[in-house]
């Protein structure tokens, strides 16, 4: 329990750091682009919204920095992230609310598949070190260094343009109304297959390599030798003794590499025109829509932190040593 509380404290600190970064970036940079956008939409934005944009981007020069900071937090805590310029006059929070589920479902599902698959393959490769299994490693290295979006481009070129098996863009057939009907879900799965395959293929290599190296290291521990000397079945030693201990660093590296996986997936969405949060982020870049960019950064950070907390709970569940502490 004590362990979890300490971790929770760390995440609160990280969330605070992210919000503070978000507060300072537009203030250190020049605030002019936002000012000019506000001017451009003059008369169309109501007074409250203008005020919140002033607070969020530090255009309110009359106030002290501290007062600006307090006001900023007030706006954030009320869920007020300003107005999107790219999707004027929709509030940023609404834009994010519409696109977040797509990203969470796609990236979440694909990441879980990649972790489970990678850990299993890595367990096997580590156990069979020094056999043909090692020849897979160079291939893995290749996939781990490919940019996500480029793999996506290749898949589209191969499986959507040359051999039109899968659709190249969107999350469902345009014109369909989102519902829980069978036809709609089928369309979603069909459209999500290539993006998911891209994420799985490009991130699975990292999990395989990490797990393999841990298996090799754990494999020479005394308790594994003892288990083998006792004559336990090989499978039992492999999963019950070696893999069980090797998987712990895997869980913690899951937490740390999540930010990286999410970043890669965002760009992948752009390639597939997937209506998730990544595609919105790039629409925002194109339109110089600063409120949307910053809102998306905050939401992604919070999502990554939540996933981290989940990984910590799993860790406590897997490793009795952390439970003894408290």
């Amino acid at each position: 329990m004590k362990f979890l509380l300490r971790r929770l404290g760390f995440y609160v600190l990280t969330a605070w750091a992210a919000v503070t970064l978000n507060f300072f970036i537009p203030r250190v940079m020049k605030g002019d682009p936002v000012q000019s956008l506000i001017n451009r939409f003059q008369g169309q934005i109501d007074q409250d919204a203008v005020h919140s944009l002033y607070v969020l981007f530090g255009l309110d020069k009359k106030q002290s920095l501290w007062q600006q900071y307090v006001d900023y937090w007030k706006e954030i805590l009320h869920g007020n992230l300003g107005i999107s310029f790219a999707f004027f006059p929709t509030p940023v929070s609404q834009v994010i609310k519409d696109s977040l589920p797509w990203t969470v479902a796609l990236v979440g599902m694909a990441t879980i598949i990649a972790v489970v698959l990678g850990t299993l393959i890595g367990t096997y490769l580590g156990w069979r070190r020094g056999t043909w299994a090692d020849s897979i490693l160079p291939v893995m290295t290749f996939f781990s260094s490919v940019p996500y979006f480029w793999l996506g481009l290749l898949f589209i070129a191969l499986l959507a343009v040359t051999f039109p098996v899968f659709p190249a863009s969107n999350a469902y057939t345009p014109g369909m109304t989102p519902s829980f009907s069978f036809a709609f879900l089928q369309s979603v799965v069909q459209h999500g297959f290539l993006p998911a395959l891209t994420i799985v293929l490009s991130s699975v290599a990292g999990w395989i390599l990490g797990m393999r190296n841990m298996m090799v290291t754990v494999g020479s521990e005394d308790y594994v030798t003892v288990a083998q000397a006792k004559g336990l079945p090989e499978r039992r030693v492999m999963y019950g003794y070696a893999a069980r201990n090797a998987v712990l660093p895997q869980v913690s590296s899951f937490a740390l590499s999540l930010g990286f996986v999410v970043s890669g997936s965002l760009v992948m969405e752009l390639v597939f025109s997937y209506p998730g949060i990544g595609a919105q982020l790039f629409a925002a870049i194109g339109a110089k829509d600063y409120p949307l960019m910053q809102g998306i950064f905050l939401v992604i950070t919070v999502a990554v932190l939540l996933a981290n907390i989940l990984a910590d709970v799993v860790y406590v569940f897997l490793d009795p040593r952390t439970r003894q502490e408290g």
């Binding site: 043909w132 793999l151 343009v161 190296n213 960019m293």
Partner: protein, 371 residues
């Protein structure tokens, strides 16, 4: 910071045991033998492959703009032409030569990689080593800082910063990447510094009254060389991937050629639906090959530091032929092979000697062959 779920020894690919073991075995009296060992890292097949590929890229980065057959910005009438004798990798929608664009772009990719690598590694050493060495509250603060940077999704942050600067050039991108990419190295270095700090030779240096600065520079840092190198290499990989991504989404200046810029133009002009594979396949392959070379170098370093990851210098087929069945729990070693693991860093053994303890000479212990 003790509230992290990661056991430092497990998180770092280095196991301290092997370092200690090699320190004890260390001093070999045979000078010829010692000379051979100097190039252990370079003799690793993986790192040789990686280094050779990297060298090719470095050469291309230097001479690329001179040997490029065309000016990458020259418009010609061969619009979207497939690869041919005059345009080796075809042309883009304006008839510009893709091969030349890639050649010219290599330089900015390598510069960003190098500057980010150096900058981030300096930061990582500074923060990681001082956190590990100082301990207490400074350590808590610095580790928390590193962990925050690790957990924050870097790409959206970089995008926000880069997009607020108009047409960010290579240098700006490299500095932003260095400012966000140091955390992993710092974390690994801190863990290793912590384990070094308690070693006898550091204690001995302290007892003989060496200044903290001297202990850090001359006793600790040389022992971290392999880890610093490995963190440098992975930062360069991160930088190359990130720069390509940033250029691809059009955050950086689109007039500077880099591999990502080529991909940006390809994506912006529907290269996919026009079937212009020569436009986007080579650029991504270059990124992948460079990344692979860097990862191979890192494998070499890892195996150099952690002998358990090594394969006794034999391929699977050789092992089968000589009747060795590789099994978990043993590092197969072969009698007539040069012993490659004695000196990860010569300084470790020097440190042991300076501690005044008698050095056990076990270098002629029988080498086990697992059968």
């Amino acid at each position: 910071m003790s509230n992290l779920p990661i056991d430092p020894a497990a998180a770092v690919p280095v196991d301290t045991e092997s370092l200690v073991e090699s320190a004890v075995e260390g001093p070999s009296t045979d000078p010829a033998h010692r000379k051979k060992k100097k190039f252990v890292f370079v003799r690793n097949a993986k790192s040789i492959t990686g280094l050779v590929i990297l060298a090719v890229f470095v050469v291309l980065a230097i001479i690329g703009p001179w040997i490029a057959p065309h000016n990458p910005n020259d418009v010609s009438l061969d619009l979207l032409a497939p690869p041919s004798g005059s345009h080796w990798l075809g042309t883009d929608h304006l008839g510009r030569d893709v091969f030349s664009q890639l050649l010219v772009g290599t330089r900015s990719v390598m510069i960003v990689g190098l500057v980010t690598g150096v900058g981030a590694t300096l930061l990582a050493v500074l923060i990681g080593v001082s956190a590990g060495f100082l301990g207490g509250i400074p350590d808590e603060v610095l580790s928390a800082l590193a962990n925050i940077f690790l957990v924050l999704p870097a790409l959206p942050l970089i995008i926000i910063i880069a997009s607020q600067m108009d047409n960010a050039g290579s240098m700006v991108i490299a500095l932003v990447l260095a400012a966000t990419g140091w955390a992993w190295g710092a974390r690994v270095l801190r863990a290793q510094t912590l384990s070094l700090r308690g070693r006898d030779f550091i204690e001995a240096a302290r007892a003989t009254g060496e200044s903290t600065g001297r202990i850090v520079w001359f006793e600790t840092l040389p022992n971290l060389t392999a880890i610093i190198a490995s963190s440098f290499v992975s930062t360069v990989t991160f930088a190359v991937l990130s720069q390509t991504t940033l250029a691809f989404i059009g955050v950086t200046s689109i007039s500077d050629w880099s591999w990502g810029t080529v991909l940006y133009w390809a994506q912006a002009n529907q290269a996919l639906s026009r079937g212009a594979w020569w436009w986007f396949v080579p650029a991504g392959l270059l990124v992948a090959v460079l990344g692979m070379a860097l990862t191979l170098i890192n494998f070499g370093i890892d195996e150099f530091v952690n002998p358990r990851l090594r394969l006794a210098g034999m391929s699977a087929r050789e092992m089968r032929r000589s009747g060795i069945r590789p099994r978990i729990g043993f590092t197969a070693r072969v009698r007539n092979l040069p012993r490659t693991y004695a000196h990860p860093t010569p300084v470790v053994s020097a440190g042991v000697r300076s501690s005044g303890e008698p050095v056990a000479t076990t270098s002629d212990e029988p080498k086990e062959t697992v059968r």
